[in-house]
């Protein structure tokens, strides 16, 4: 077996051009998911019986189905639904041509990440002792103020390792976006490979890119955890 190193080198830089799509897909999904995930977490902890069940149902739907199925299903469903809506509104707008598949990928991964982050937030909020809220109330803070100033900042630090997990899994998970013809790292690698059947070379390139991206993200989270968690004292780490 002989590897085509020249191809490998050339492709390596091409594949990197997909890093922007991979990272923006990841960042957008995380950003969009954060607020609804927090809301779901609070619902599961403090909501009525009905809203608790709805929140739980949503989480188990997402966790109980493979992401590849969610992608295929939504990618088949969403454009058609949107098309019907646009037509019903009487607009002259071609959904199938005008909406980049990137946005469908954002929708799928946001919905997915919402469920995962909701669980992360829920367990982090549960990890903060009840006495913190009581202390806030006893000195005359409102419940909301106590959450904003005391409980959420602590819960965030507790949640960071798990948020890091979700992020890294999301970076890797977005590689499935090539199924929706999104031109991310994975898709570029596959396309380059298919010209001359240099699959091994291209996949090694893709492999390295994901490894580098995920490692950088982990270092950043570690740094954030140390900074934001400084109050836990030095002996904690």
């Amino acid at each position: 077996m002989e590897l085509d190193y020249e191809f490998m080198q050339k492709t390596f830089f091409e594949v990197w051009q997909g890093a922007g799509v991979t990272l923006s897909l990841t960042a957008l999904s995380l950003l969009i998911a954060t607020a609804p995930a927090f809301y779901l977490a609070v619902l599961r902890l403090r909501g009525s019986t009905a809203s608790r069940s709805i929140a739980r149902l949503y989480v188990s739907f997402v966790r109980g189905t493979p992401i590849i199925l969610q992608i295929l299903l939504l990618y088949s469903l969403l454009p058609s639904i949107l098309n019907v809506l646009v037509k019903a509104a009487g607009l002259d707008f071609n959904i199938f041509e005008s909406v980049s598949p990137f946005w469908y990928a954002v929708v799928v991964f946001s919905l997915n990440t919402t469920a995962l982050l909701a669980e992360v937030f829920r367990s982090a909020l549960l990890a903060i002792p009840k006495g913190q809220l009581e202390a806030g109330l006893s000195i005359g803070l409102s419940e909301l103020t106590t959450y904003v100033r005391v409980i959420i900042p602590q819960a965030l630090v507790v949640a960071l390792p798990n948020i890091c997990n979700v992020t890294v899994n999301l970076i890797k998970g977005t590689s499935l976006a090539f199924l929706m013809t999104v031109k991310d790292v994975m898709a570029i690698g596959k396309v380059s490979a298919s010209y001359g059947y240099n699959y091994i070379e291209a996949y090694v390139d893709v492999f390295v890119v994901y490894l580098v991206l995920c490692s950088i993200v982990q270092v950043l989270y570690r740094f954030a955890e140390l900074r934001l968690g400084a109050f836990r004292g030095n002996d904690w780490n």
């Binding site: 913190q132 009581e134 000195i139 005359g140 103020t145 100033r149 005391v150 109050f231 004292g233």
Partner: protein
């Protein structure tokens, strides 16, 4: 009369924790509540600050009469403004420095400006002997220091009365003294306190009035001298005999 509490009742499920508890105190009083565990003393204290909601009872505090079972948000806020709570487990805000712990209630709770709050906060920390630890986080303080910050947080609010819930029970024995010393100093300065405690010496030496509770009722109350040297009720005698063997049977500690 600063505070008058009448007919406090509270149940957890089928278990009746408080049955008609009454209490009154004047400004400058130090009331200690003694009793075996499970007697309801902590629950009683928590009801006064609405950390638990009582099933019945009234409280008159500095002229306002409030129903403990059905107080409005506004009434609860006004009570919390006039009282402060010191917790068994300190419950300092873990993500705030000692000084921020003391000032947060003033700034975020009462809208005081930061400079004024810090001035008050520093004075309060100085009072408990921890001014040089102002920038430390709770995780960097010993248990005794954390509880002293907890007391400073209560003092800074300038409440009419400070409620202490077993403030030394979670401390290592060698750290109990520093906390009790601060409390004693506050008592001497005339701060009004209600203290649930197992520290008999503190109760005996500092309290102006001692309440003995058991099974959700006040069994006996009186001056510390009355309770410790001439208890009337059998229940009180048995309790004191168990926690103060040396005063009742000479040499009991040596057996």
């Amino acid at each position: 009369m600063l505070m008058q509490i009448r007919g406090v009742r509270k149940s957890f499920g089928d278990h009746e924790v408080l049955r008609d508890v009454n209490m009154e105190l004047d400004r400058g009083d130090v009331i200690t509540i003694l009793g075996p565990s499970g007697s309801g003393k902590t629950t009683f204290l928590r009801c006064l600050n609405f950390l638990e909601q009582a099933d019945g009872g009234t409280m008159e505090l500095a002229g306002d009469k409030i129903n403990l079972a059905s107080a409005s948000k506004k009434e609860i806020a006004s009570v919390r403004k006039k009282t402060a709570f010191v917790f068994q487990n300190y419950n300092l805000f873990a993500n705030k420095t000692a000084l921020e712990n003391v000032t947060l209630g003033l700034t975020a709770g009462r809208g005081m400006d930061k400079a004024k709050a810090e001035e008050i906060g520093r004075k309060a920390l100085e009072k408990v002997g921890l001014l040089e630890r102002a920038g430390y986080y709770p995780a960097q303080l010993s248990g005794g220091q954390q509880q002293r910050v907890g007391i400073a947080r209560a003092v800074a609010a300038a409440p009419d009365v400070i409620l202490f819930d077993e403030p030394t029970s979670a401390l290592d024995p060698e750290l109990v003294g520093e906390v009790l010393a601060v409390m004693k100093q506050l008592a001497e300065e005339g701060v009004t306190m209600i203290v649930v405690t197992h520290e008999m010496k503190f109760a005996r030496d500092v309290a102006t009035h001692v309440i003995f509770m058991a099974d959700g009722v006040v069994v006996e109350e009186g001056s510390s001298e009355e309770i410790f040297t001439r208890p009337k009720e059998e229940r009180t005698k048995r309790f004191l005999k168990r926690v103060l063997p040396e005063d009742y049977e000479e040499g009991a500690l040596f057996i």
